[in-house]
């Protein structure tokens, strides 16, 4: 049951998108998000959609995975669309009942937002689908490293993040063991009313917490034994090096962004 949870799900592969330098991928994703949110003409979104489709095809990841990524956020999407539809009152009125008005502007805005957010989710899923979490953390650390001058603990944050990722499978395994042990003692976890189940969760969370703290303590000692002393003077086994294809990908993204912006201005 718990094994289905995959935070930042990653699909190993060897496509062009997989091989891009993760630092470039993050920057490209940012430009992509800007492209989606600065253009307010439907043509800008179409350019965004073409860009997304091209990237998805290049990644060789089945399209249904992207549909899956949007699914959990469906209620949120529908709510946003409904609110826009019902409460925007400018434009031609098609339907009027008490305080609710459905207008041309309302329909436009809600469809626009729906597409925009769907594209946003698909695009950012592409980043996590094609980049392993540990590489992603590494890239974030390197991109943010100029902030070290401002005394932002970039290395420490990245280290915490990667240790958290490392311990997800360990803690899931542990949770399953504790659940089995509590079930053997008669705890009802899968049945009963919501309240009894919630109460029984305490019997799982308390031992899990205690064990997590004990693990943290032991891990800290083990790290000290291996001479850990923060980010100062550290070298890395994982080398990130940018290739011409990374610059090319960045250039293409900027071209798309520029094109979308230009179209937006011309067609206004």
């Amino acid at each position: 049951m718990l094994r289905d949870i995959t935070i930042g799900q990653y699909f190993p592969g060897n496509s062009l998108i997989h091989r891009l330098d993760p630092r470039f991928k993050i920057v490209i994703t940012f430009i992509y998000i800007m492209m989606l949110f600065t253009g307010d003409h439907i043509v800008c979104l179409s350019v965004g959609a073409v860009f997304t489709a091209a990237a998805i095809i290049l990644s060789q990841i089945p399209f249904k995975m992207f549909v899956k990524s949007v699914k959990p956020l469906m209620p949120f999407l529908i709510l946003t669309a409904a609110l826009n539809l019902l409460f925007i009152s400018s434009g031609d009125v098609y339907f009027h009942w008490k305080f609710i008005k459905i207008t041309s502007e309302g329909i436009n805005v809600s469809v626009f937002m729906l597409i925009r957010i769907t594209l946003l989710i698909m695009g950012s899923s592409l980043l996590t689908y094609t980049t392993s979490p540990i590489t992603l953390t590494d890239a974030i650390e390197r991109l943010l490293s100029p902030l070290k001058k401002l005394k932002v603990p970039v290395h420490e944050l990245a280290m915490m993040m990667s240790i958290a990722l490392r311990f997800i499978p360990t803690l899931i395994e542990e949770t399953e063991k504790i659940m089995a042990a509590q079930k053997a003692r008669g705890a009802e976890i899968d049945s009963g009313s919501f309240m009894t189940r919630a109460k029984n969760m305490v019997a799982i969370l308390v031992p899990l917490f205690i064990s997590a703290f004990r693990r943290a303590d032991e891990l800290a000692t083990a790290m000290e034994c291996r001479c850990y002393r923060g980010g100062e003077g550290r070298t890395r086994l994982r080398q990130l090096c940018s290739a011409p294809r990374d610059y090319a990908a960045l250039a293409v993204t900027i071209l798309f962004y520029g094109g979308a912006a230009a179209l937006g201005i011309v067609l206004k």
Binding site: R166, C225, R226, L237
Partner: protein, 281 residues
Amino acid sequence: MSNIIEIKNLHFSYPAEEGSEPAEVLKGIDLTVKEGEFMAILGHNGSGKSTLAKHINGILVPTSGTVTVDGINTADEDKIFDLRRRAGMVFQNPDNQIVSSIVEEDVAFALENLGVPYEEMRRRVDEALKDVNMYDYRLHSPSQLSGGQKQRVAIAGIIAMKPKCIILDEPTAMLDPQGRREVMSVIKRMNREYGITIVLITHYMDEAAQCGRVVVMDKGRVILDDTPRAVFSQVEQVKKIGLDVPQVTELAYELKKAGYDISDDIITEEECINAIKKLFS
């Protein structure tokens, strides 16, 4: 051969909790370990054996007395990283000492901390992984490995530092028999081929019997310190402090008590088989 570890009159108490006297865990330990030695420390829970181990690489510092490792006083804070590079430590639970989600990166962790340049790091990581027979798994996630494999990765992470001495605190306690055998064979090979001094804390008597020297601790003191054969032949004294002797030693001891003419310093299965064969011939 020179001494790599010198412990002189070591006393240690954990800081007292409110309203109670500090309990002394180590009560005057004198111990020297020669370079290249393979030593086991035995003792039941609370005998102070893990506390002693933590003194060897400066995780704990003595309340009084001194611990010197390869010429470095463990209380010298300026040299603490130099000390830890020379005396590596492996713990009981492999899950709680693996830092990275990729095997080879975990092995590189200590080298990254020490600022070893990339080319040398790459070479040392690969060598260490080959030494523990885990090279084929270098790109795996630790969660895909068995207990014995994880513990071998942890050992590789230590030998990549090229230490002179490795302290292992019950490294096989959480492993299945297969994992125990794998880990023991790696430890023995490190000692034999690279001359790394091994301090193995264990409560498996058969593992202690494979070492060159056995130190038995009880209530914060060293009470026996000799070859495994000499230690285990004192069956009554070993049993008095709540420890067992290897099964074959116990069998010979019981046979002797029952009036058979059998040697009392048997520690391996083969010796036992031969001795019993002799009884019947």
